[in-house]
């Protein structure tokens, strides 16, 4: 069981760490770093599904007959690039929040919002 499933379990452990960071930390930059860890965990699960015993990278050559499945690679390759684009969008929002509230902490921003609501 351990020898045949540890690849999946490491993905689950990384996913747990990422999920914990996203939920527990109120700092928005730290949340995005946690989201990246979560994302890589999902990528690892996908890639491990395509691996086949004794296989090689899916680049056809007469010297090889067994190849890993190319489809998970394609899906994850594009997901990584889309991931950096969405991270950049999140970071741009963080920069704007910092300009508006003077903080990158979501709790502090919410308190500032509540104070403003009481004043008006």
């Amino acid at each position: 069981m351990i020898a045949s499933h540890y690849n999946y379990w490491i993905a689950v452990v990384l996913l747990m760490i990422g999920l914990y960071v996203v939920m527990s930390h109120s700092n928005t930059i730290k949340k995005l770093i946690g989201l990246n860890v979560f994302q890589v965990a999902v990528f690892m699960l996908y890639i491990s599904l395509g691996k086949i015993e004794g296989g090689t990278a899916p680049i056809v050559d007469a010297a090889f007959t067994v190849y890993s499945h190319p489809l998970p690679h394609v899906l994850i390759l594009t997901a990584i690039v889309v991931g950096v684009a969405t991270t950049a969008l999140g970071l741009a929002l963080v920069v704007r929040i910092h300009e508006a509230y003077g903080t990158t902490d979501e709790d502090e921003a919410l308190i500032a919002d509540r104070r403003e609501a009481e004043r008006t």
Partner: protein, 335 residues
């Protein structure tokens, strides 16, 4: 137990330790650097699992691009976070442990890792991709033929997502000038030209720059035969220019590649990609059916279509990544 298992164990240990480290540290600068290390280690694991194209992308994007964007944000904001109170950390830990427990319980139902009789390997598409792609498309790198031809619609969608994200960041951060002019004293921003005493850094990066850009072009045009393609090449090309901006200052980089040119290049790549689709429609085929591009030799048409489509992806990704960097960096200069 073969040698790969030991490499696996070492890499997984580094990966888990890095993840724990970046979760625990309150220095966001350190967390950003650790997330770069995390990406690089996971890229090594992807190589072990035969996903060379993915590893390539993860190394260029995760360790290069994402880290630079985090550092650019930290230069504009604060790099220390406050202590996480137990009222946040305890429920989060409980939910994470519960989710992990459920997933590990579910994973016992999964087939053994790397088995040949899993549903993934037994699916008819596997044989179609691996056996028929050489005759249908004639490109040795199956990842490229699936990416650009079999699943060409999908990749067009992903390219549009990158385009949309670049536009959204441009809307949020503008061309670098903050909306309010009554900002406090100018802050130390990321791409100040490095002082002259850093001569080694300047000379070495200037020597490396042509090789990085040439390598990006190789990755772009050799993607049919080896690992590579438009996504990877775009990120590598952009990282080369970002290195130039970091060492020689933002103004020097803007003089080399102007923001106005980038704003045209981002949609240009998407238009090339979609244009190939419309060309195939006009030639009587289906959308993105490259066979019709060459009336006599369908495989040649496939080659041509994949080349053009990857070129479109490369242009959009290069311009989008560089534009993202410019937006964050210029925001700091304007303050």
């Amino acid at each position: 137990m073969n040698g790969f298992v030991w490499i696996d164990i070492v890499l997984f240990t580094i990966l888990a330790a890095t993840a724990v480290g970046l979760a625990r540290t309150r220095q966001l600068f350190a967390a950003a650097m650790l997330s770069g290390l995390f990406s690089l280690t996971s890229a090594c694991i992807f190589v072990l699992q035969d996903a060379v194209d993915v590893a390539f992308t993860e190394a260029a994007v995760g360790a290069g691009m994402t880290t630079v964007l985090f550092l650019g944000t930290l230069a504009l904001t604060r790099s220390r976070e406050k202590v996480t109170p137990p009222r946040r950390s305890i429920p989060a830990a409980l939910i994470a442990i519960f989710t992990g427990g459920v997933l590990i319980y579910a994973s016992t139902d999964m087939p053994p890792f790397a088995a040949a009789d899993t549903p993934v390997q037994q699916h008819p598409l596997t044989q179609r991709f691996l056996d028929d792609s050489m005759t249908e498309i004639g490109v040795p790198n199956v990842v490229t033929s699936v990416l650009a031809s079999y699943r060409g619609y999908d990749t067009l969608g992903e390219t549009v997502v990158v385009f949309t994200a670049a536009i959204a960041v441009l809307m949020l951060l503008g061309r670098g000038r903050p909306a309010t002019s009554a900002e406090p004293k100018p802050r130390e921003a990321l791409p100040q030209p490095i002082q002259h005493d850093q001569r080694v850094l300047r000379v070495v990066s200037k020597l490396m720059l042509p090789f990085i850009l040439l390598f990006a072009l190789y990755v772009q045009f050799h993607g049919d035969y080896g690992p590579g393609g438009g996504f990877q090449a775009g990120v590598i090309f952009a990282s080369g220019l970002i290195l130039y901006a970091l060492v020689f200052g933002l103004d020097a980089a803007r003089a080399a590649v102007s923001p106005a040119a980038l704003r045209r290049m981002v949609p240009l790549g998407v238009l090339i990609y979609a244009g190939v689709g419309f060309a195939t429609l006009l030639l009587g085929g289906a959308f993105l059916d490259y066979n019709v591009l060459d009336a006599h030799d369908p495989a040649h048409g496939q080659h041509l279509g994949i080349l053009l489509v990857e070129l479109g992806v490369g242009i959009t990704v290069t311009a989008a990544m560089l534009m993202l960097f410019y937006s964050f960096a210029a925001r700091g200069v304007g303050r």
